[in-house]
């Protein structure tokens, strides 16, 4: 009996879906190695939005007329798709946001302001993106709670031994962690942290912005209380993201933004909130963007999340091997087995800006900077790194070009 092989992803074929790759940069084909910052968009997603605007656009939820019904069906259909994509128990628990950042802020404000105070401890990690770090730092400051960060080791992996000491600092009320680090690619033990958080009586907030695009995500298996994701990193449009939250928590929470749509009744002296998820969607939402997000989720599901993960894993292993072989290049982060398709590196003492600049001459787009993870950079002892990141449209050939580009960087600036 033959074992069925995991269906492989054909990146060459998928690239044809992405109009951006018809563009050249400096006379060279575009090698887009910055998908961790944002992904490119397939025609399928762009078409879905365009068609929606051209045939079904109206404001949602309140209109009785046909066009409004169509628009509402498009918007709510997208919610159902996103809910299924993350395996949410109910669509009502999926809130459309602008971004993963806004999803986390929603929790920090609406849950945090009412539930934190002196004696409480808010726990993040040293490898969080600023978006899952600063909101907690801020709300801790506003409420008088302690703010603590779980450290990571030289391989870029969290040191869970630190948990006991942190728990001794007070009542742990929130634990916030990104499932995958956008700087190092580390796949974090968020599931274990969720279990620990619950032992402490804390809520667990998972930033899955960097995970959702690249591997199957199951919010129930994760055991988290809130999970934030972002459309623009997963082949969808900018301007929309989603927050999943446990129903009991969402129902007990104050709202975040206030305004139209999120109310049930408004009087001069008394206002009550709408049911979930509308309670958290004040004002006109990102309607067409949600529809595009739904189309992106369809696209990723069609390609297959497991195939995407496998493809990126191969690229990552190859990139680590190739870049690691260049003299003077140092790569940060864990071994390929516990890592997503992201490589942060430095080329000797050459500043990442200069690395990225020279690579751009070759049509290679990588990111240079702190990647919105300054505490992580501080811990690494650098101001910035160069970062190459991969997606379903990335080709091994582009890694070869990256390697050749780094050699040129050394020639120009070494």
């Amino acid at each position: 009996m033959a074992v069925e092989a995991r269906p492989k992803l054909d990146a060459h074929r998928l690239r044809a879906d992405f109009p951006i790759f018809e563009r050249e940069v400096n006379g060279k084909p575009l090698a887009y190695l910055d998908s961790a910052a944002s992904s490119q968009k397939p025609r399928q997603v762009l078409d879905a939005m365009r068609t929606f605007y051209e045939t079904s656009y109206a404001n949602v939820h309140r209109g009785v007329y046909r066009l409004a019904e169509d628009a509402t069906a498009g918007y709510e259909g997208a919610r159902a798709k996103v809910a299924a994509f993350v395996n949410a128990p109910s669509e009502r628990e999926v809130i459309f946001t602008r971004s993963a950042t806004e999803g986390i802020n929603l929790v920090a404000y609406a849950w945090g302001l009412d539930n934190l105070g002196p004696g409480d401890v808010v726990v993040v990690t040293e490898l969080e993106h600023h978006s899952n770090f600063v909101p907690w730092q801020y709300v801790a400051k506003r409420t008088g709670a302690e703010f603590r960060a779980i450290p990571f080791d030289d391989a870029g992996e969290l040191v869970l031994d630190a948990l006991d000491e942190i728990a001794s600092a007070g009542n742990v009320k929130v634990v916030a962690n990104n499932l995958i680090s956008n700087s190092l690619g580390t796949v974090n033990p968020s599931e274990r942290l969720a279990a620990w958080a619950h032992e402490q009586g804390a809520i667990m907030v998972v930033d899955a912005a960097q995970a959702a695009p690249h591997r199957a995500l199951d919010v129930q298996a994760l055991g988290a209380d809130f999970v934030a994701i972002s459309s623009h990193k997963m082949c969808g449009p900018s301007g929309v993201g989603a927050l999943w939250g446990r129903r009991e928590l969402l129902e007990a929470m104050s709202p975040f933004n206030l305004g139209g749509e999120m109310i049930r009744s408004v009087k001069l002296d008394r206002t009550s909130w709408n049911e979930l998820p509308y309670k958290f969607e004040a004002g006109t939402p990102a309607i067409a963007e949600a529809v595009g997000f739904g189309a992106a989720v369809d696209y990723l599901t069609d390609v297959g999340l497991d195939a995407i993960e496998q493809h990126e894993h191969e690229l990552l292993a190859y990139a680590l091997e190739q870049l690691g072989g260049i003299e003077g290049v140092i790569c940060y982060g864990p071994p390929p087995e516990r890592r997503a398709g992201i490589v942060s590196f430095n080329v000797g003492a050459i500043h990442p800006h200069d690395v990225a600049q020279v690579l751009d001459w070759e049509g290679i787009a990588i990111r240079a900077g702190h990647h919105c993870t300054q505490p992580l950079m501080t811990r690494l002892g650098v101001a910035a790194t160069s970062r190459a990141s991969f997606y379903l449209y990335t080709l091994p050939d582009e890694i070869d070009r990256l390697v050749a580009g780094v050699e040129r960087v050394k020639k120009v600036l070494g």
Binding site: T72, R247, S265, N274, E275
Partner: protein, 144 residues
Amino acid sequence: MSEFDQLYREVILDHYKNPRGHGTMDDPDAGAEGMNPLCGDEVSIYVRFAEDQETIDEVKFAGRGCAISQAATSMLTEMVQGKRASDVAVLDKDELLEEIGIPLTPIRLKCAMLGLTTLKVALHKAKGTPLPQGIAGDDDLELK
């Protein structure tokens, strides 16, 4: 009759213009107020149980609403009379929809369901049972 006029077919218009069970009730055994946040319509529901404290003896409703919501609530008051409260509290909405007998878009569905949802809230509150998911109840957060 065009496919559109169906929506306002004779029986709907009849219930709309001569709603059954319209009115209020003193000292009801169960009661609740409901609101459709999409249009601001409000409905109050009043229930009287039979002596067994379980059989629904009478349902009355007051409030304003569109023809669909008024007619649906009117039909509802007839439909549940003599039924057991615990059955009505979990009544499938399709049963009411069948009675109404016209195709409804999701938004008009909210109009049609306002009375039923409010009745369920009233019964759950009276019996002390938890509200099923998807019913906001009338005990949301208040500002003051």
